[in-house]
Amino acid sequence: MTTTDIEQDLTRQQDTFREGLEANDWLLPTLGDGVTGLGPQAEDVVQGIASAARGIAARLSPEAGTRRLRFPPVNGTRLLERTDYVASFPQLLGTIAAFEGDNKAHRQLLATYEEQGDWSAQLTPAGHALVPAVCHPLYAYLEGSQVDGTVFELVGECYRHEPSPDPMRFVTFRMFEAVRIGTPAEAAEHREKWLAAGTELLTNLGLEVQADTANDPFFGRAGKLLSAGQREAQLKFEILTEVYPGHPTAIASANLHEDHFGEAFDLRTADDAVAHSACFGFGLERVALALAAKHGFDVAAWPASVRQELGLS
């Protein structure tokens, strides 16, 4: 097959899968490009995966303990600066704009709106941004504190501005993350343990998966250097499965950040060294859709062991 053939084959597989998901009430249309809602079965499966992940967190809980926290999908724009997201991934970020004008400005807004013009150009930055990664608000919350290797368990929404006809690529989606901040050894151990436990859970759910080194989609030529460095140092692993035969998709990732966030948010260990961090995340909708691709759209007919693992029977 030529490259074009392979691409056309992939597009066809994506279209067929999306049509199946929509026809069976797994994905619900919205007015947002690349944004979909979930039907009842898909949502049950998402909740089941999150619950199985919490089970792993309880089982792997270190001596320092595990804390479950919750941060909303919106944070201050400053967060994108503090994490270097603006420099590294400008193509993926999203900020929120609001109307802060007076009556005169309102008349202008209405006029533009009635002419079906671009009224959104008359909004101003609200100082809020959509959270791109579930662990980022955590570092900001812990800023300036001493860390002790506690694991933080988070479920939250992520925004990535990359609309795509591929139903596996969501513009907004939920991640379960287990994050550990402590010594370099604690961070490394966390990544190892969760990569193994995450692979095991996905395998028990009947998926054929494979862990592989990966890189984040850093922007531009500068990004080439960052990607190469990340791969060379094996900082990122993804767990991949072939929802589309011959085309692996990542459904979970295990990341070592070294001292990147420790440095940016002044997080220190008991010996006053800059803390290291690691996170493991399941893309909850992606895992759910991979299960639908594997076992079908009727969850009641899934293998008993899979239903049991997800707490659905």
């Binding site: 270097d84 420099a87 590294s88 030529r221 500068a222 080439k224 250097l225 960052l226 190469a228 460095g229 990340q230 060379e232 140092a233 990147h260 440095e263």
Partner: protein, 83 residues
Amino acid sequence: MDSTIEATVRSVLSEQGKLSEDAQSIAVDADLYRAGMTSHASVNVMLGLEDEFDIEFPEERLTKATFTSVASITEAVEAIHHD
């Protein structure tokens, strides 16, 4: 190694490298990442070098190895100049 190129490399490093050592005196083969250069600092070093020398690093040179020492950077700049 071209000494004028090396001097410019050192001055870009002292501006952008975030090194814990003096970029003017650090050994030519010392590991810059070990001397405190973060991956984001290495990006700024790369962009600074491209400005100073009016060059563009080809994709295959956008690796950690290229930016690992004064010597490796100077050699890369020389090679790109000669291409």
